[in-house]
Symmetry: C2
Subunit: 376 residues, 2 copies
């Protein structure tokens, strides 16, 4: 039996996030120049435009016909001067400086926490609304931490054209993907406790980690020494506890994001979460096994119906043909897929589910652009 | 930084379990012929000798200097007649028939459940003690289900030379690996509930699945169509819910093995287990994320000390350097590795741990040979 190869990422190298490919437009002809939109709409800046998420920002903006009057491509000094094409216009990547945000309405940041800390407040001061994909401001009081399908109310009152800058934080990828599925169930039956085990893709560690996984796999086949630059152990045909630093309580920072961000997003300081975050040799979509304990009883059929009707969620739960969500099936897709929805045998009123979502897309760029859409 | 390449499997193809490689002996010169041992000891039969576990039976027998007077290499008609060398003697693979067990003392079976059902009782009738790696008899009353470090008492009284055949079942790989770590903690504090998420290797689906993962990965690099023969979805750079059939309760058979076998091995019908079993693109070692709830409080330091002293267990739990168990590190190793030992933040008196073990070795062949050793 031959299967169509669902290639994890279409442009550039095999799984490429190599610098500056032309973002593909899924929905429209690449020759459509959106002149009318480009004369209205906000002025945008993309910070970290050469990275995996930065590139995906552009793809998503294009796919969703996001209106803009101008767009600035910002990156580190190292990338400054590179040429790129976006929606049939040529751009030169500019070096990010404190002056980059003059006249910018919306700045999409994905260049790491230290860049966000350094330049985010400066951008806000200049009147930009910053949607920040780093962890820098997520837990700061007063900074909305937003999944548009989950807690849009957290950013109420923040709009482009009010003449005021603001910071909005994009949650961590594994939090977004988990809560896209858990929230509709939480709204019905109130989640008291979640036990989460993740299966996280290379993309979460950036384009270089994706490349390392690809190169190491080639090295295995060529019987070469395995070169390790980005991650701390061999990644090809292996998996390992998430590379985030481990805290004194034994949890790593990635796991604590799930614990803390869930509380903030749900405005529920009592919800109990434990998580074990593992990186697996998959390119760009995360999976999560989630055990849910509720305050009110919730049976699996009701849960499945709730999830079928949840925005941004697709249910793939075909027991007869053993078809459930996989990372490849959700790669380059907007929706988070949920399956293995079943009554937990070990305790009444609990459920087990299995969730997959594109880490770069809904886990990062799409969520940020959806936030930006709400600013207009 | 260059890392030594810990190749997942040493002989034959890249990750080979291709038919009939000469098993390597890790501990002794390959030129040592154990003539003295070969004149004493039991008469052994290996059923399914051309499979991944069958080959590993031979490796483990050799590595552990298992005494035997003779050894029969048994497989299906298709493989009959193949030549193989083991411990410097030549063997011809024989077709498995009801007459294969004349004079056999110990029969190691790993040829699937239907072969075990067909030939296991016949072997017992001829006076052989069958150590069966399939699921055929695991849950049958009166058939001991044994992990030697966990419940050796279950096979009390069964010995070679008593003139009586018997059936002993080897637990499923994911059960063995989980319980190697959970049992020492259970013995101290009594486990009430376990939430398990697995990261299972190709080897659990047999040598052909390992080959499929390797070939599909090559196909990805060569931009070829991905051929799917053994498993139901693309495996290269992907993961998927375990391929075992899904039961009406929504659990698949692999998950129910963890639930039911744990109860039988611990002789504890009350222990609550839920499991989500996922196959990941790793060759031959399983990983499991396990959340444990106890009757008595158990702190993480005590748990770590207990595990450090547990037979067949090694603790890899270095938070400072983010070094925890990985499948590659335990591949071709006997011990099950445990790490990420920490107090569960979400509920008092619970622990989270992360376990890795070689699926073919402790998860199958080693455990069976350890059982056979207890028969002598």
């Amino acid at each position: 039996m031959a299967a169509t190869f669902a290639q994890p990422h279409a442009h550039g190298r095999l799984f490429s996030t190599s610098p500056l490919p032309k973002p593909t437009k899924n929905l429209r002809s690449p020759f459509t120049v959106r002149m009318s939109l480009q004369e209205t709409g906000p002025s945008i800046a993309v910070v970290g435009v050469t990275g995996a998420v930065g590139q995906e920002f552009l793809s998503v903006l294009s796919d969703r016909d996001f209106p803009y009057r101008s767009i600035k491509m910002l990156a580190s000094k190292r990338s400054a001067g590179k040429q790129m094409t976006f929606e049939d216009r040529n751009y030169t990547v500019e070096e990010l400086t404190a002056d980059s945000f003059d006249g910018v309405d919306i700045a999409l940041f994905s260049a790491g926490g230290s860049i966000s800390k350094q330049f985010g407040p400066a951008a806000v001061e200049k009147g930009a609304i910053v949607v920040d994909n780093s962890s820098a401001f997520r837990m700061v009081d007063g900074v909305p931490l937003v999944i548009p399908e989950v807690n849009p109310q957290a950013m109420r009152g923040i709009k482009v054209g009010m003449g005021k800058g603001a910071l909005i934080a994009n949650p961590n990828c594994s939090t977004i993907i988990c809560l896209m599925a858990a929230t509709p169930l939480h709204q019905r039956a109130k989640v008291l406790r979640m036990v989460v085990s993740t299966y996280q893709a290379a993309s979460g560690a950036g384009a270089a980690a994706m490349e390392e996984l690809e190169l190491q796999t080639r090295e295995v086949f060529l019987h070469l020494s395995i070169l390790i630059y980005i991650l701390c152990v061999q990644y090809a045909f292996n998996l390992f506890s998430h590379n985030a630093p481990v805290l004194p309580n034994g949890y790593n920072e990635e796991e604590m994001k799930l614990v803390k961000e869930t509380r903030k997003i749900w405005s529920d300081l009592d919800v109990k979460v434990t998580a074990t975050c593992i990186r697996v040799p998959v390119m760009r979509a995360h999976a999560e096994s989630v055990n849910l304990q509720f305050e009110k009883p919730l049976d699996e059929d009701t849960a499945r119906e709730i999830l079928k009707n949840a925005p941004g969620v697709v249910v793939i739960d075909d027991r007869a043909s053993n078809h459930f969500p996989t990372p490849l099936e959700v790669s380059n897709k907007d929706d988070v897929a949920v399956g293995r929805i079943r009554q937990d045998l070990s305790q009444e009123g609990k459920l087990d589910i299995f969730v997959c979502g594109d880490q770069i897309r809904k886990g990062a760029a799409l969520n940020a652009v959806q936030i930006a859409e709400m600013l207009l």
